[in-house]
């Protein structure tokens, strides 16, 4: 260990949507490496340990090393020449960078979408349809005595969700931690999270909606047929007991996992859970919240919403924002072959999208932003290497309960931040759009003033 050690207190882990802001990082400034991350879970420790500085060019054009300015010029030319450019990703970068991406998309009259569309986009649609009884995780810690996870495995995906917010922490009205709470888990299979639950419901695959709807009926005092067991795998007796516990708790919370949104039923599943929480407010205080995956996917929803009025899947081709999931969401614009250029920021669709969408990504010019080489950066026409948010750059990230958190970076990176490159790209795109508009004889440019 070198002599040049720095301790960063109250740093934030941005690996998952828990956005834990109680990290104490020990940084070796000579090696530019975090050597200890006190309070981090196993995923957080890996996140901090793996983000070292690797040698490499800041930008590549068609796989060849390029100067940053040349790559920005090439990216700007590519995006402004396209007829149907799309912007996608944004869940692993700061809100400040996200807002630059919205402005670029507005200038090029493109379509902006975030990883939300393949995460809790369906919950976002359900929210618009049925509303959401919501909360912060601080309230859950201090008040919740009934905690239900539906379609998720937080022990492996969000390891500190149980210990920091919802199951074991001692709160104002839950002084005995887990002893003061009833924990319920609903899933199609047993996972590492199952042992935490007092009650485990193994629902049949694809039957979440039916189960939630039967629970709604019971909450409202309707009769449910015993055949619900054959349908969902859960007996009427178990369901009746569960619903009574829910009605009689002091503060209940339903956490929704992607087991609900990624299966048949999608937004209907999430909508049923949100409606169930609302129904339960006839009897007690009940809330529902999606468990969000990436570190700042919640920030992406917030930024795109406050800039355009809609959370994801937003198109600017008419000069004003239009929202239409299924038409303007990225899996659709790629699979149908609509997109003719893509700006992909801090995400890797080439590694997890349906094959038809990946195939189209190979056919169009892609501009990528990432801290490391990925399947998407490998196919990119212009690939930028950027510094890591929360480790090398400050800014803002939103926790999954919509609480904004200021990031405290640990050490400097030789690579620029997403925000820096996107700001430069926005400037150049704006110049090109104005020049194009003038050359088309518009006289004065019909281009919106830059979004600040």
């Amino acid at each position: 260990m070198s002599e040049n050690i720095k301790i960063v207190k109250n740093a934030t882990c941005t690996f998952c949507g828990c956005v834990c802001d109680d990290m104490e990082l020990t940084v070796d400034l000579d090696k530019k490496q975090i050597i200890k991350a006190k309070n981090a879970c196993v995923l957080g420790r890996a996140w901090f340990a793996e983000h070292t500085i690797q040698e490499g060019p800041v930008a590549l054009i068609d796989g060849k090393e390029s100067k940053l300015e040349d790559a920005i010029e090439e990216a700007a030319q590519t995006l402004t020449k396209a007829k149907f450019p799309i912007t996608y990703g944004l869940s692993d970068t700061t809100c400040e960078a996200q807002r630059q991406a919205v402005a670029i998309t507005d200038f090029i009259r493109g379509t902006i979408d975030t990883t939300t569309s393949v995460c809790h986009g369906p919950s976002g649609l359900a929210f618009q349809g049925v509303g959401e009884s919501t909360m912060t995780l601080g309230e859950v810690k201090n008040r919740a005595d009934f905690v239900m996870y539906w379609g998720g495995n937080p022990a492996e995906s969000h390891p500190r969700h149980f210990t920091r917010y919802s199951v074991t922490p001692k709160g104002m009205f839950t002084p005995n931690g887990k002893k003061d709470r009833t924990v319920v888990l609903v899933d199609v299979r047993r996972t590492a999270s199952t042992p935490v639950a007092d009650i485990f419901l193994q629902v049949k695959p694809g039957k979440d909606f039916e189960l939630a709807w039967a629970m709604r009926a019971l909450v409202k005092g309707h009769t449910v047929d015993a055949s619900i067991e054959e349908e969902t795998g859960i007996s009427l007796e178990v369901l009746t007991d569960l619903v009574e516990r829910m009605k009689n708790c002091n503060y209940g919370v339903l956490f929704m996992g992607m087991g609900l949104t990624m299966t048949r039923g999608r937004h209907f599943n999430s909508g049923a859970i949100m409606a169930l929480a609302t129904d339960l407010n006839e009897f007690t205080h009940f809330v529902a919240k999606p468990v969000r995956g990436h570190g700042n996917v919640t920030g992406a929803d917030n930024v795109v919403s406050w800039q355009t009025g809609y959370p994801f899947g937003v198109n600017f081709s008419k000069g004003y924002p239009r929202f239409n999931p299924g038409e303007f969401t990225t899996v659709d614009t790629l699979s149908r072959g609509d997109a003719d250029a893509a700006l992909i920021i801090a995400s890797d669709p080439a590694a997890n999208f349906p094959q038809a969408a990946i195939n189209h990504l190979h056919k169009i010019p892609v501009v990528s932003f990432d801290t490391k080489e990925t399947a998407t950066s490998q196919l990119a026409h212009v690939a930028f290497r950027t510094s890591t948010y929360g480790i090398n750059t400050g800014g803002t990230a939103y926790r999954m309960d919509d609480v904004p958190i200021t990031l405290r970076p640990a050490f400097e990176s030789p690579f620029p931040s997403d925000e820096e490159i996107l700001t430069a790209l926005k400037k150049r795109v704006h110049e090109l759009v104005i020049a194009k508009s003038r050359s088309q004889g518009a006289g004065t440019a019909k281009v919106a003033a830059p979004i600040r």
């Binding site: 393949v118 369906p122 299979r189 695959p205 999608r266 999931p325 899996v331 790629l334 999208f353 349906p354």
Partner: protein, 74 residues
């Protein structure tokens, strides 16, 4: 796995109307993973089996995909 005469380490082809890929089997107790269910990690392999139709939602069905399982020579 018993029904298909499969053991740990065997290679299987998982396929549907969208695509296919070869996976290696690892058994689980029925209590943990019920009969008829296979668990695979989300990523390049699952991409090959995912349809691109999002049903107007933006979300492709990424879990609970129906697949055919065939044993293949290693």
């Amino acid at each position: 796995m018993l029904r298909l005469n499969l053991s740990d380490g065997d290679s299987v082809r998982l396929s549907n109307n969208t695509g296919e890929f070869i996976a290696t089997c690892k058994s689980k107790k029925i209590k943990d993973l019920p009969t008829g269910l296979i668990f695979i990690a989300y990523g390049p392999s699952s991409s090959r089996l995912m349809e691109s139709d999002t049903g107007g939602s933006g979300m492709p069905i990424s879990k609970n995909l129906r697949v055919q399982v065939e044993k293949v020579a290693a």
